[in-house]
């Protein structure tokens, strides 16, 4: 049967081109790989290579023709057992139109199909802590370690890797004691090579293990962000759900103390913008432990953002077996009725401090700890807004394109009717963090600034 040679698309965006030159004439023998014609687009001149064998029968489009649409039959090729003279022009040589459902790139109509977003789980609550449970004062550092150790005891696939996690006991002592208990196979010191070991950790997760990859700080994860986003976050989707990547990337995030601009950045908004990732940023020790355990068990890749300045703070942790918290649920840290302060990570402490001060001035503030930045608990934010009608977001990080900005968008989109005042954000100043003590203090969020904003939305300033 004669073969139709059609005007090829030579780039993803090409729709038409010029048939610049025929290099073969009617009657010529053609073998695969022969250049039959030259085609010009606005970008380049390209050679049209034969993929079939045969004899060039009829040339349908003369050389020099401009604006030849992709898919137009430009010539006919007679097959092995055919006479060239028998080759007929196809009845219709019009360009191929888009056929619905056939996925061609030409003339695609805008889709009118309904987009269905997955439902969020509702009514998921923190586990009940039975009456009479004792609470143990625990630092965040210990709580994180306890969460990891418990999961390592019950699942052989879980291991920790990173710089100084084993023999040094952790640059910030979060992995203290793990080497002694689990040995060097499961607590692996890596060289200083973030891109490489983030890739190895991600690959190990694809291979069926449950790696916890520690970054000494998330500032260094910038060198590895390609694996976190391109390899870990996108693979499940790109594989149509075949390839899972249950890895936890964890480490301190945000400003520490007097370490300068390159070591002081909050990456929460960066990671929270990426579909395919879970982003967790707890504040207190109980949440750190319960969410760390949930993160390790999670089938999805998790970015777990800790805070160096909070590591040493002690909080009560319930002494129960297997304290696991739900991912994606905010927590009301303090109930109030006049104004909502939404915060996460270290800013929760500042928000609680501000709420105390506001109480002294007769303003009853509700403080919400987001705990998970992706997926964000929209319901918790909107429910509180419906109650207080005023909202302030406190975030230790830059204001531009921040989690604060996202919360403000949610309030505008879905909470507009509840608003009695514009939503305000209290963030760090929009500068790289300075070293000088006085300038650093000026640049960082603090409780008085939150108080000021809360009073402003209550029209009490």
């Amino acid at each position: 049967m004669a073969i139709e040679l059609k005007m090829p698309a030579l780039s993803p965006t090409m729709e038409e081109g010029t048939l610049a030159k025929w290099l073969k004439a009617e009657g010529d023998e053609i073998v695969a790989g022969d250049i039959i014609a030259e085609i010009e687009t606005d970008k380049a001149t390209m050679e049209f290579e034969a993929v079939d064998e045969g004899t060039l029968g009829k040339i349908m489009v003369a050389e020099g023709t401009e604006g030849v649409k992709v898919g137009t039959v430009i010539a006919m090729l007679a097959g092995e057992d055919e006479e060239v003279s028998d080759v007929e022009a196809p009845a219709e040589s019009a360009p191929v139109d888009d056929v619905p459902g056939e996925g061609k790139d030409v003339g695609r109509e805008p889709s009118e199909a309904e987009i269905t977003k997955p439902a969020r789980k509702v009514d998921v609550k923190d586990p009940e802590v039975p009456e009479g449970t004792t609470f143990v004062s625990t630092t965040v550092r210990e709580a994180l370690r306890d969460g990891m150790a418990e999961e390592m005891r019950q699942d052989e696939r879980v291991f920790v890797m990173g710089e100084e996690v084993a023999e040094y006991q952790g640059a910030y002592k979060v992995t203290q004691g793990l080497l002694d208990e689990f040995g060097p196979k499961r607590v692996i010191d890596t060289p200083i090579t973030e891109y490489g070991f983030a890739g190895i950790g991600t690959g190990a997760a694809m291979g069926g293990l449950r790696p916890i990859v520690e970054f000494m700080t998330f500032n260094f994860a910038m060198q590895a962000i390609d694996h976190i986003i391109n390899s870990a976050a996108k693979t499940n989707y790109m594989s149509g759900g075949q390839m899972r990547c249950p890895v936890v990337f964890r480490g301190p995030n945000g400003a520490a103390s007097r370490v300068g601009a390159q070591h002081s950045q909050n990456y929460g908004p960066w990671y929270a913008s990426v579909p395919g990732l879970i982003v967790i940023a707890p504040y207190d020790a109980a949440d750190a432990k319960g969410l760390m355990k949930a993160a390790i068990r999670c089938e999805d890749p998790v970015v777990f953002l800790e805070n160096e300045l909070v590591y040493g703070r002690s909080f009560d942790v319930p002494d129960v077996d297997d304290y696991v918290l739900p991912i994606g649920k905010a927590r009301i840290m303090r109930e109030g009725s006049d104004v909502t302060i939404v915060a996460y990570s270290i800013a929760v402490g500042l928000a609680l401090e501000a709420a105390e001060q506001l109480a002294g001035e007769g303003i009853d503030a509700e403080v919400i700890d987001l705990r998970t930045l992706r997926p964000l608990d929209r319901d918790a934010i909107l429910t509180s807004l419906a109650k207080t009608n005023r909202l302030v977001i406190a975030e230790e990080g830059w204001p531009t394109c921040s989690i604060a900005a996202e919360v403000m968008a949610i309030c505008m989109e879905d909470g507009f009717d509840h608003l009695d005042a514009p939503v305000l954000r209290v963030c760090d100043e929009d500068v790289p963090l300075p070293y000088a003590a006085n300038l650093e203090k000026l640049a960082l969020i603090d409780a008085p600034r939150i108080v000021k904003a809360a009073k402003k939305v209550c029209y009490r300033d």
């Binding site: 090829p8 698309a9 090409m14 993929v51 983030a198 190990a204 594989s239």
Partner: protein, 358 residues
Amino acid sequence: MAKAPRSKKKPAQSPAEDTDFVLHSLQDALEKKKRYDASQEQMLHFYEQMLLIRRFEERAGQLYGLGLIGGFCHLYIGQEAVAIGLQSALDGEKDSVITGYRDHGHMLAYGIDPKVIMAELTGREAGISKGKGGSMHMFSTEHKFYGGHGIVGAQVALGGGLALAHQYNNDGGLCLAYFGDGAANQGQVYETFNMASLWKLPIVFVVENNQYAMGTSTARSSAETEFYRRGTAFRIPGMDVNGMDVLEVRQAAEIAFKHVREGKGPVLMECNTYRYRGHSMSDPAKYRTREEVQDVREHKDPIEGLKKVLLENGSTEDELKAIDKGIRKTVTEAADFAENSPEPDASELYTDVLVEEY
């Protein structure tokens, strides 16, 4: 006082005296015996598989020209002997494979149904990634094929992780991690070399040197163009292999896999090969001459090379023609399937973003 310059080492007489023995021992073994002793039956199978890749890719190029395949499409034509020579030596039960974006050939080498691969290229529901991955993002966990990665060099570190999982689980498997001469200049490749050698990970790094990183020749991009030497600084033995000869590639695979399975750590294998087509579909082909490509096709083609051996050893032209005919039928069926399968349902847009519900 300055140190006295080290005296230049004399060529060692025995492995015991030769501290660099490990770095060249595998190459020495290959030099001793270059080609794998394949049975006629095995060779026919290699021939059939290489031909399947060739014909499949030719058809993919055509479908691209028809607008049925979009975006990027990197064809494997010319490089067939690498995937077939190496993957035929794997233990399918245990070993894993990972590669970059030029991945169709590696999937076909596994015997994965050409239909679901072609249907992925056309972005259809029946595609191996449900149409959501495309040419560069295909996976088969069933076959331990881990992609299909679009970021140049990323698969090397990920392959290191797969190898770590083999070692951790003590499952006896190894990872075969392919990358190109272009990826060989990425920093993470060397970060991975370091850790893989340090931890003696069971991994074979394969540089498919097709001579051009997009349009930049190795000579214009690489200070050391003998890529198999690039593991030396990490104490990784190198092998220099003719990637246009499936029997030599297979022989090299036997040597490398044995070394890795004995727990001796990674191997770096350079397979010198050539791609006949452009880097992707829109390739201006201005960086090399027509004659250069034609010369390789005429004198070094892996399929023609094996065909010659087969004919010398008793196969007939008719027998080989029958194989070709069968392959063409398979590829036509795959193309028809890929053209006629429906696109993914709109409801698939939000599936597989996350595994769990929150």
